[in-house]
């Protein structure tokens, strides 16, 4: 809790980061205007939100998720490793798990601020502007769907970034590595798709796996041919791998063999 609180304070004190958070809420305002127009202007009824609107909104937030992840996550452990801070942390009455979860909570909180929170507020905005609960009653699964999808997305991304951050002492290098992992897996899938003309290999791309799981959670037709169970397995596998890396890398003593 102490680590998380201090981390949140540190980032909230940075103007550039506050600017990034503000910009990440821009799509929310656009969607809010859309919902308002659909609810109050009969000629705009075509813009009326559906369950897919919320699904699309979370997709649109991905660039901001990427930037927040790199900005906040890259240095979370890398900077501590560079400054030998781990031995300071672990000489206090603090377990390694508490340290990792403290750091994880910082990134997860900020990611939730650009995914879960605006999506939920958007749902509340829809109810407010509509003046009734009809949409909400017809799509009562939306609240748990937004929550579960945002949780899966945020957990996978935050643990992966934290694991990468524990691998290096340079936050710049970690940021580049994260971007490389995201874009490289997407590029490989793109090449394979171009060769095979099949989307069944989409499990190679982490972004595609999230899309596939999102489709299932929001009850939309699947975008790719990959079974959603495989995509879920990839997400869980990446999170578990990140956990193993963190378990090995976060130690009070670094032994160079």
């Amino acid at each position: 809790m102490v680590i998380t609180r201090a981390g949140l304070r540190t980032f909230f004190a940075r103007r550039a980061f506050l600017g990034l958070l503000l910009v990440s809420w821009f799509p929310f305002f656009v969607r809010a205007v859309q919902i308002y127009a659909a609810a109050n202007l009969p000629q705009m009824a075509v813009l009326a939100p559906t369950a897919d609107t919320f699904r699309q909104f979370l997709e649109q937030q991905r660039p901001f998720v990427f930037f927040v992840t790199v900005y906040v996550g890259a240095g979370l452990i890398a900077n501590d490793r560079r400054a030998n801070a781990l031995q300071i942390y672990l000489s206090k009455p603090l377990t390694r798990a508490e340290y990792v979860f403290g750091k994880l909570a910082i990134l997860m909180t900020f990611l939730a601020l650009v995914t879960w929170l605006p999506a939920i507020v958007l749902l509340i905005v829809q109810i407010s502007f509509a003046g009734n609960f009809t949409f909400f009653r017809n799509n009562v699964f939306l609240f748990p769907a937004i929550t579960v999808f945002a949780f899966l997305q945020v957990t996978m991304i935050a643990t992966a970034m934290l694991a990468l951050s524990s691998l290096s002492k340079s936050s710049r290098y970690v940021g580049i590595l994260y971007a490389a992992v995201i874009f490289f897996t997407q590029a490989i899938y793109g090449v394979l798709y171009a060769v095979t003309r099949s989307t069944s290999l989409s499990w190679i791309s982490f972004s595609a796996n999230l899309t596939q799981i999102g489709d299932v959670i929001f009850r939309q037709p699947l975008t790719y041919d990959t079974p959603w169970q495989v995509s879920l397995l990839m997400i869980v596998g990446l999170t578990a791998l990140s956990g193993v890396i963190l378990e090995r890398r976060v130690r009070g003593v670094e032994v160079v063999a």
Partner: protein, 311 residues
């Protein structure tokens, strides 16, 4: 004075990094007060401290700190000890007062108390004027002091200081030693000072544990270790050939310890009652001229050299 319980005990502790054994079946205890952990680089001093903090799990053996088992209650121990690491260590992006207060919070202090303690401790270590500066702008000496401050902020029962004067200039080193001495002798803090520098240990500590090659070479109160069990002489000689080796070998065979000093004078430890006469007799037998012979007072350096078998 009543004998107090040891603050740290080790029973048959073995620590290995792969095939390399850093601690070999170490059994020892550290009494309350200021204890120096002395030894050359690579002797296993830092490894011992890290094992006591629970950073390293030993292959064998048991360790107790402040009466608590390290394997069973590492967090309880860490709540009651302060650790000043050897290498440069800080939390990036913080100024001194935020850093020390943060360390206090990590150690379990309420936020307001941690902040108040941070100010007090920073003034105590001499960083009061620089407490709002970012840590990354600090000099080496200041970084050593801030490490001491973060170790002290939660008022620990025991301090582990790992090479506290590392990289400091002579003035800064003296000031740091003065702080450590004050903590031990005026503030009543129990501390274990790991160092390869004999004067540092001799100035600040009452007891010493000498380590060499992962094992305990000598241990006890410095005053009693320095008690002569023979006599120590400063000796300078001239040999007909200019080669000292055969004379030194003769001294060793006769059971005399000798080691070089900074000058061309060697310090010779003569056990038993033989004294100067024994030295003269050995010199005569080797046809060596004794140019300088003066009785000397045993120092911790002699104890150390004797313990680790240094020539």
């Amino acid at each position: 004075m009543a004998e107090t319980a040891p603050v740290v005990t080790l029973e048959g502790v073995t620590v290995a990094y792969g095939k390399n054994r850093a601690l070999r079946d170490v059994t020892s205890s550290f009494s309350a007060g200021a204890v120096g952990l002395l030894g050359p680089n690579g002797a296993g001093k830092s490894t011992m401290i890290k094992a006591l903090l629970g950073f390293i799990v030993p292959e064998r053996g048991r360790m107790r700190v402040l009466g608590l088992d390290v394997a069973a209650a590492p967090l309880d121990i860490r709540a009651r000890v302060g650790y000043m690491p050897e290498s440069d260590a800080h939390i990036p992006g913080m100024n001194a007062v935020s850093f020390v207060a943060y360390c206090g919070e990590l150690a379990g202090l309420p936020r307001v108390d941690a902040m108040q303690r941070a100010h007090e401790v920073l003034f105590y270590v001499g960083l009061g004027e620089a407490r709002y500066r970012n840590l990354e702008t600090y000099s080496t000496g200041m970084k050593q002091r801030i490490k001491l401050a973060q170790a002290l902020v939660h008022d620990p029962d025991l301090l582990f200081l790992d090479e506290p004067t590392n990289g400091m200039d002579p003035k800064g080193r003296d000031e740091m030693l003065e702080l450590v001495r004050d903590l031990a002798h005026n503030k009543g803090v129990n501390l274990i000072l790991s160092s390869h520098l004999l004067p540092d240990v001799e100035y600040t500590c009452d007891h010493v544990v000498v380590m060499d090659k992962g094992a305990i070479a000598a241990a006890g109160p410095i005053a009693s270790l320095k008690q002569p069990r023979g006599r120590v002489y400063e000796l300078r000689v001239k040999t007909p050939s200019g080669d000292l080796d055969s004379f030194l070998e003769r001294l060793r065979v006769a059971g005399l310890d000798c080691h070089a000093t900074d000058e061309d004078v060697m310090r010779v430890f003569v056990p038993g009652e033989g004294g100067a006469q024994q030295l003269f007799a050995l010199a005569a037998a080797e046809r060596v001229q004794v140019r300088h012979l003066r009785p000397s007072v045993p120092t911790l350096e002699d104890v150390f050299a004797h313990a680790v078998g240094e020539q």
